[in-house]
């Protein structure tokens, strides 16, 4: 089956405020194939977490889905009832959030939480379910799983808790795992372990993973493809090595340049002036144009669409031949008249 596990087409999420409607996710489209890790990277407020909430049907009002399609292995899930969505969550989509402290119920033993999930979403029951839970915990690298399955969350360290959360996400044998900043709250050395674990599980089980983070380093280590989001839209999407080594969109260029690296010795970091606009004051045309070092005439007029360039897709007028030739024609005319 070559159908992508997750397929988004023109997904849009909006908030109705008192005086206006704010669009927080604007026409987002991408696919995730079986066994692939797609990184979604962007700064806070770019709309990454909202996209994830929309996919699993956990958007909180006043936010709502205002357009687009979400397909899970070919089946549309964006219009389903809350009851149907609840069945899909956990069974077919697993979720890992940033803070393992709040993802686990502190009053229940981790074994109870795991077994409950397994019983609800798989055919394993009774003692089988417990054995399966122990196997899962071992798979995620929890030492002495048989002994520790009856511990409470507070008896684990942060990294261990995140492994338990991963086990919970995988308990229903999902086709897709959405991980929203899974390593941000963890120390660097633990972060590396969790990333390695994610990749291994993805490879062995063929699960598709949507990895949301603002840390490009994590993307570089873990993801196969990456989508860069800015102000609710995807501005560039392509293979990880392409986007990191040869970023196309001026925002991606700025982003890569502003990350300090362990090897080079720059005097100043590349800095993009200004900051990401607030969702209720997004500029007309391309949202990035006020801060763009390569801005020109069409940028303030209309928003560029994602179009293919090599293996990647990028939304920028610089790469649009029609726009460029129009600009060139304009230049020629002003030169002649001036």
């Amino acid at each position: 089956m070559n159908r992508p596990v997750l397929s988004l087409r023109d997904l849009s999420v909006a908030f109705s405020q008192r005086h206006r409607t704010v669009v927080a996710v604007n026409n987002v489209s991408f696919d995730i194939a079986r066994g692939e890790v797609l990184g979604v990277v962007g700064e806070s407020g770019a709309g990454k977490s909202l996209t994830a909430s929309a996919i699993v049907g956990l958007l909180e009002p006043p936010g709502r889905l205002v357009g687009g399609e979400i397909r899970l292995t070919g089946q549309r899930i964006d219009g389903l009832s809350p009851e149907a969505m609840r069945r899909i969550r956990g069974k077919r989509i697993g979720m890992v959030f940033q803070d393992p402290l709040t993802s686990l119920n502190p009053l229940y033993r981790i074994g109870d939480q795991l077994v409950e999930t397994i019983k609800a979403h798989t055919r394993f029951q009774g003692i089988e379910a417990r054995r399966r839970a122990i196997a899962l915990l071992t798979e995620v690298g929890l030492p002495a799983a048989e002994a520790r399955i009856d511990n409470y969350p507070h008896q684990f360290s942060g990294g261990m808790r995140q492994r338990v959360v991963l086990a919970l996400a995988l308990a229903g044998d999902p086709e897709l795992v959405i991980a929203d900043e899974p390593t941000t709250a963890l120390d660097v050395s633990i972060q590396a372990q969790i990333i390695a674990l994610l990749k291994r599980l993805c490879r062995e089980r063929g699960t598709a993973i949507m990895l949301i983070t603002h840390d490009m380093g994590v993307i570089a280590e873990a993801a196969d493809r990456v989508a860069v989001m800015y102000a609710g839209r995807i501005v560039e999407i392509g293979a990880v090595s392409d986007v990191i080594k040869h970023p196309l969109h001026p925002y991606s260029v700025g982003l890569m340049g502003s990350i300090p690296s362990l090897d080079s010795d720059l005097d100043r970091l590349l800095q993009i002036s200004g900051s990401m606009p607030r969702l209720n004051s997004i500029p007309s045309g391309c949202a990035f144009h006020p801060r763009c070092p390569r801005v020109f005439e069409p940028c303030s007029r209309s928003h560029p669409q994602l179009s293919a360039l090599g293996q990647s897709r990028v939304a920028c007028w610089i790469y649009d031949d029609a726009a460029k030739s129009a600009e060139a024609a304009l230049d020629r005319r002003t030169v002649h008249s001036g």
């Binding site: 700064e43 990294g159 261990m160 590396a192 280590e221 080594k245 890569m256 502003s258 990350i259 970091l269």
Partner: protein, 341 residues
């Protein structure tokens, strides 16, 4: 001849000298509980025998993961909590937590701190103007209202904000802008030394670049000395000239920045560097990352890193290693001392 010797002696004494700084917290349960449950007192050694020196206009980076004790060290250096042992000397004056003497107030002027969380380091009910003016008023640096106003506007401009921003409340600013206000507040008393406790950890990457560049510029313009505390190795690499690596309350390695990152000695430093996700390194890994930091309430015997160390031997499990200095670097590791690695 005598004058040059005097000058040399003056420059020999480092600006900040930290000697054997130690801090133990009593985290015992309340006495009634201890009495009825017969549990002993519990102590947390947050920092043990930490020593380093910082020169003028230098940036010293202190690196470590959570639980390493770096924030405790920061708070002891600025005098917010008293050390259990050791001393901090700033330009010849020891730092004491003795409160409210004129001399102590003078000393407070010279050291300031920038905190990690831009959302809780500014009083949400105060306007930005008052937040920045507070040190000016506390140290009576300006004679009247209009002089204070001029100075605050100057500081806002210095950090890249508009003078009109002084009228706004913190929630009207973004995270990066709030951190700029925090920096302006730190500069208000005209300090010579600023302790930065994870100043950009809560910020997005592009905002972090802006703030780090700003800090660099300010250092050049105003001749500031920084102690930069961070868990982000790349940030420390970019900003610091010398780096100390902390683990479970101790300094395990200390070296000039370039040297440390190019040629790390201590196994923990190597593991840490290896764990940092690299943009262009691809998917290869060197030494595998093993285990987790031990509980500081119950630290391992001997070398605190030994349960996770690939080069552990019997001596490591029993005897804590001493800090050995070779040139401008120091390492605290038996394996390095015995030349096993």
């Amino acid at each position: 001849m005598q004058r040059s010797r005097l000058r040399r002696r003056l420059t020999d004494v480092p600006f900040i000298q930290v000697e054997n700084l130690t801090r133990v917290f009593d985290v015992s349960r309340p006495w009634l509980e201890r009495l009825t449950q017969r549990t002993p007192r519990q102590y947390l050694a947050a920092a043990a025998n930490v020593s380093f020196a910082i020169g003028r206009r230098e940036t010293f980076g202190l690196v470590g993961e959570s639980g390493s004790g770096k924030s405790t060290i920061a708070r002891m250096i600025v005098g917010l909590i008293p050390p259990s042992g050791g001393s901090v000397v700033i330009d010849g004056t020891p730092v004491t937590v003795q409160v409210h003497s004129a001399a102590r107030q003078q000393a407070r002027r010279r050291v300031q701190m920038v905190f990690q969380d831009p959302y809780s380091s500014l009083n949400p009910r105060w306007r930005a103007f008052d937040i920045i003016a507070e040190p000016i008023r506390a140290f009576r640096l300006c004679s009247n209202q209009s002089a204070t106003k001029t100075r605050v506007e100057e500081l806002l401009h210095l950090v890249g904000l508009d003078p009109m921003d002084g009228l706004k409340y913190p929630h009207e600013f973004s995270g990066g802008q709030r951190q700029r206000i925090a920096i302006a507040r730190a500069l208000a008393s005209q300090p010579e030394f600023i302790v930065c406790d994870e100043p950009t950890s809560a910020l997005d990457v592009s905002v972090q670049a802006q703030v780090l560049n700003l800090m660099r510029d300010l250092q050049d313009r105003l001749g500031l000395t920084y102690l930069l505390i961070s868990h982000n190795l790349a940030v420390v690499r970019h900003m610091a000239s010398r780096v100390g690596v902390m683990y479970l309350g101790r300094i395990v390695e200390m070296a000039p920045s370039k040297e440390l990152f190019r040629n790390p000695h201590h196994p923990y430093t190597r593991m840490l560097l290896d764990a940092v996700p690299h943009l262009d390194r691809g998917r290869t890994h060197g030494e595998a990352v093993v285990g987790e930091m031990a509980n500081p309430l119950d630290p391992p015997t001997g070398c605190p890193f030994h349960p996770r160390c690939p080069h552990v031997n019997e001596r490591c499990q029993v005897e804590p290693p001493r800090l050995i200095t070779a040139g401008s670097s120091s390492v605290s590791c038996h394996a390095v001392e015995e030349r096993r690695i």
